[in-house]
Symmetry: C2
Subunit: 311 residues, 2 copies
């Protein structure tokens, strides 16, 4: 259990609401800020919905009402940041906007407080430019929905201190997350690059008519996705090498893998490709709306996360 | 429930033993063949081990002994194929060997019987060359371990009849599998291409020192792998588009994805890279042996497969 802290959640959309529920579940006080009209009401409503998930996973205890008593809302980010121990920033993905917010936060934030950014697309070194205390800026990039998915990617910029990175790793681990340490800032961090690499081939195969969009998705859910929920790609191939492990895999299957790499396709999201993928998804979803799919996905996610996936 | 059939399992190593257990669980009679010394004893032993998994998943009922009474073993593939309704071929991945086996099978197999090949690397049109009845040759490529993983890739060659492909799809569906239809023969079919595309980026990131092998694997198991066990890549991005679905995703995030595609790395399995990956896996597995990891993986797989992952 972490010492109760005061955490500022700057940007209280879907990601911010997800973080807020998780921070409240861990016993922290949350000072949220968002400039959108009606943001506070929406935040409280979303935290209630997320709370039910967290109770189901035994991460949260007690009622949402009790927890929400520890949430305060501030239109001004500087007010939310006042006296905070940690900031989790989730504003829109625009560098000018984020730099402006960071300056306002730093005007009231204690100098030793940690600033964590949920950004998926902006490099930490770019965020640090102009900061008074750039050494405490760390990216903590979550995966949707952040209150449920354990992964957080932790990345520092050129001016981030190693103490700040260690503090970010400890903070997320203490929340029950599984943070990974990205040692070099790079577009897309790690997980989005892996996703993009796979999706490029998926789009290529669909565009070339090798299989339908639905069947390509099923190759994942009925096959490789099940294995990857338990073991990452390296460990999967380590087992694929038999008794000799990865060394045997490299020896026996390395040349085959390299020949597959050479054969992989290129894809571009031109109009015909977009149309093919969009129509393929329509066939796959058979008229189900996004809300229905999202509810069903979250319910399945709760069932999956309740299982011990430890290998 | 399928009508009980006589199925010839040609090549009774790990894959063959896995298929055998599944076919017996569905009530079929299995005639297995393998020329390796001690193959029959090993097959019976592996079927017993697989049987326990299938009982745990409520796919098999009754004792392994009762089921094994429906298994016969033949040194000669032609004898196993005699009077069979379906052949599942799992011999080593060598075209000359497989062609030779197919000729011997066809010498005794009824002409209307279906021949399914588990090959991952050989094109069906290459297997068909020289066959008496090439129209009944279909690839049914399973994923390890085949008695547990639902995915089977179904691919025909240039001379395969559509009736044979339909029959293969029906057969695997009837076994409780989730077959997908690959409409064009291509190296690696679908799933191994997707795996290879992702692993290329994973190897690149490890080789460049962006993250450790263990942390890259954790990006999968703690994050994207959990989601992919429920929804394939297209459906995942369909939800990522919000209320507008895939069309909105393409519009809003298409350019970002294309820029990520441009930024993805190249990898080669040269000696320094092999060493880095092998050492990274050693760090990740902390001295655990392959047997221990495999046991733990299979146990976790059984827990995962018992969950309703339907979205």
């Amino acid at each position: 259990m972490q010492q109760p802290m005061r955490i500022a959640v700057i940007g209280a959309g879907t990601i911010g609401a997800s973080w807020t529920a998780l921070f409240l579940a861990a016993g922290h006080e949350v000072a949220a800020s968002d400039t959108a009209t009606g943001a506070e009401a929406r935040l409280r409503e979303q935290v209630r919905a997320n709370w039910d998930d967290l109770v189901a996973l035994e991460i949260a205890q007690g009622s949402a009402d009790n927890a929400l008593a520890r949430l305060s809302f501030h239109e001004d980010a500087a007010e939310a940041a006042r006296a905070a121990d940690i900031v989790q920033e989730n504003t829109p993905e625009r560098i000018d906007l984020k730099r402006d917010i960071l300056a306002r936060i730093e005007s009231t934030l204690p100098p030793e407080a940690l600033i964590l950014s949920s950004t998926s697309g902006i490099m930490p070194s770019d965020l640090q430019r102009g900061m008074t205390h750039p050494e405490r800026l760390v990216i903590g990039h979550p995966f949707n929905p952040p209150h449920l998915i354990p992964l957080v990617e932790v990345v520092g910029g050129s001016r981030t201190s190693s103490a700040a990175i260690e503090a970010a790793m400890r903070f997320y681990t203490g929340l029950g997350k599984q943070p990974i340490r990205v040692d070099r800032e790079i577009t897309g961090h790690v997980a989005n690059r892996l996703q993009a690499a796979l999706w490029r081939e998926a789009v290529y195969l669909a565009a070339e008519g090798v299989a339908s969009v639905g069947d390509i998705d099923r190759a994942m859910t009925a096959g490789i996705g099940i294995r990857w929920a338990l073991m990452g790609p390296h460990l999967t191939f380590h087992l694929g090498g038999g008794a000799g492990g990865m060394a045997a895999f490299m020896e026996n299957l390395g040349p085959a893998v390299e020949s597959w790499w050479e054969d992989l396709g290129e894809a571009s999201l031109d109009q015909p490709t977009r149309r093919a993928i969009i129509e393929g998804v329509e066939d796959e979803t058979e008229g189900r709306c996004i809300d229905d799919l999202t509810r069903a996905r979250n319910a399945a996610l709760l069932r999956l996360l309740a299982v011990d996936r430890t290998v």
